[in-house]
Amino acid sequence: MAGGIVEKPSSGVPVRPARNYLNETKGLKNWLVTLDHKRIALMYLAAVTVALLLGGFWAIVLRTELLGPQDVILSNDWYNRAFTLHGAVMVFLFIIPGIPASLGNFMLPMQLGAKDLALPRVNLLSWYLYVIGLVFFLGVLFLGGLDTGWTLYPPLSSGRPVELNLIFAYTAVFILGFSSILTGVNFIATMHKLRPKGMTMYKMPLFLWALYATSLIQVLATPVVGITLGMSLIEHVFKIGIFLPQYGGDPVLYQHFFWFYSHPAVYIMVLPAMGVQSELIATFSRKHVFGYKAIAWSSIAIAAIGFIVWGHHMFVSGQSPAAGIIFSFLTFWVAIPSAIKTFNWVATLYKGAIDFKAPMIYALAFIYLFGIGGLTGLFLASIANNVHLHDTYFVIAHFHMVMVGSVLTAFLGGIHFWWPKMTGKMYNETLARICAVMVFVGFNVTFMPQFVAGTRGMPRRYANYMDEFTVFHQVSTIGAYILGLAVVIQAIYLVHSLFKGKQAPPNPWGSASLEWQSSSPPDFHNFLDKPIVMGAYDFENWEFVSEDAGYVLKKEVIETGKSLSTVH
């Protein structure tokens, strides 16, 4: 049977394929030594979900503490630990690996029409490194937490008397760095070497272009933070002068090294999210994405420019005004590729048939939240404003709009979008839509007040604050509770769907990238027959059958093995 679809339902209820990657082999051991990218992706998904819940727990704790200007539930010491753990867990364990290692790992080979990643063993190794990093972080937690801030700035961090939990934290980030590098190398190799005949770079879904740009950053930037934290670890234990001024070191040098990685890391987080966004917008408006090449190359442009803007984290560190001005100039340039993407997504909606399924609600929320997150970046790129806004709640609100408003939104949208493919089950659509709206509302309620608190001068990382900021903090905390509740409800109905969900058809959304030509869940070998290579947005090749059966490939496509699309 051509087209690679195992059980092609022409109508009625879809049938779960008798053999698929989930039941190919059984037992925990077979999962733990699996080389199948799909299983590793699910194991990553489980692990990053643990990290998300852990980081989210600390977010709720610290927002609760901030309900009042003085101590509410935490001492200063514990508040400092709460925001350090929140930041470190969310950044290193959730947002950086989140989308690429779970959704990317699963979809990259499938969207290419390949059997697996180029280096399956390296893929498994990268998961184990991640888990070891996670265990080290849990170790930090059991040793009583850490209060250095996730940025681990010396002298506050390495300058203190030797502390086991700090050593654990350095080690964890160091190891996680390797996990990230290995994933990046693997993705790049796969995209260059395993594209089947006919699958040109420009035929790849934009999600893959985004992953490609992400991988470049992972490979080129992560070693710098690894080396930096390695040096910090040595300095911490042996008290030598690299970054510590009392031994002749320079703490500002650390900031340069740290942000040389950590600013590009922001794009490691957001580029995959933008990739997911392109898939969702196109699929649910049933339109070929507008400006494919512009979106593809803007990912590369963001990755490239992202490497030369790190100094904007240090406008008030005492770096020279000349350096500050150059970094400000370069930072404004990042706005352009980001704006190009946004305009293209909006243009894609034009004359479409917009279906407000849960993933699409996330995608539309993304346009709004990324709009605010991106535009407020202009205030911070402007050096005359940055001086006032630096290290205030304005910055907190800005980067959460991007890192949560955009990345978490795209992550959740992507999970819902690919859930039927990954698990073969449909979730409860009504609940999913309600939660999508809750995430959007909760998110805005949490972070919009923080912009105003910031311009009025509320500094970040404050356990206690002046009375005038109370109302902003209280509204913000209510928003965080709404957001937290939505995530918990999602976890419940998604897990529930694994047991009680309806069987998913191979292509419930009519999406055109290759993974939808496989069964749900896919076969162990991804495709039983060679998929018909076509443009990722050639929606005209698919026709709707029924709500239960989803979309199927049109007869003439199967017969000719060619796309019907004429718009390339």
Binding site: D147, P155, I325, F332, A353, I354, D355, F379, A384, Y462
Partner: protein, 348 residues
Amino acid sequence: MMSDLSFGSLPGLPLAEAGGSFWFPPQSSSVAAGSDFTYDLILWLCIIFFVAICGATMYFMVKYRKRPGHKEEITSTHNTKLELAWSIIPLIILMVVFGISTYWYLEMVTPPNEDVHEIEVTAKQWNWTFTYRDDELLGQGKQFLVPKHLHLIKDRNYQLVMTTPDTDVLHSLFIPAFRVKQDCVPGRYNKLWFRPTKTHTEAGADEGFMLYCTEYCGKDHSEMLGRVFVWDTEAEWAAAVEQDGNIENIKDLVDRGKSIYDQYCKSCHSVDGSDNVGPTWKGLWGKKETMESGETITVDKGYVRESVLEPAKKVVKGYPNSMTPFEWGDQNDAYFEGIYAYMESLKD
């Protein structure tokens, strides 16, 4: 001239104004108006772009929503002219914004050539100390160390010379009403220039403008606060500095010692017997301590004085050699009287 900068105000659109606004505290320094001007400029641009993006999105969401009888149309998948336009026009706008922002930034960081009064700032976990010297107003060769309170004279140019002891951590000085901020880095002297243009009472801050630490510095980061007082006249200023800075104004020696302790010693020494970076002061006075060198010493006036001025000389066994030396110039004796009295009051 600068305070005339304004975009005007549309009804319902909150913009920065000289007298304080929805967004900002009242503009109270020479650099505030330029910063706020740039803010308003960008705010307008953001509103225009945001409304355009979200407006178009919402319009499409309604007009092209999936419904019976509505089908998507195949439209062109790219349009080079349109795409170039929406790349290049924003770029030009942003470069103009960059130019304006940089102009005001240069105003912000370039102090006038003359008539600049220096004040030394020392940031320590978790306290600010401002050192004032002014031969004319405070007396020849006199210096006053004032905790927490930054005293200034209206319409005078100031340059803060800021540092942190090598053994301390990063801090950052932030005065929202002035729109200024600068990190304090161990081993460096960072400078921050501004000219206050309103007294604190004129700006409605009767208890002084807020001064914050904005670089996370450990446990009591959020308690590392200060106040800025801007006085109309030199006489008022000198009186305020003398009042705050002359330790002899605190007549009760134990109170004096307590206040010195709170300012300089508290972050490392407890007074309730609990362990900290350095030995607790509870019961320390008159106690025999063993030094790193093995010798035994009685904690008395001589030892305390030496340990404050040259802490590395004799370190108590079991504690790190990490204390910063302190020195109060011609007020040393008055400070030590207070410290002795306070330590004595903590005897068992």
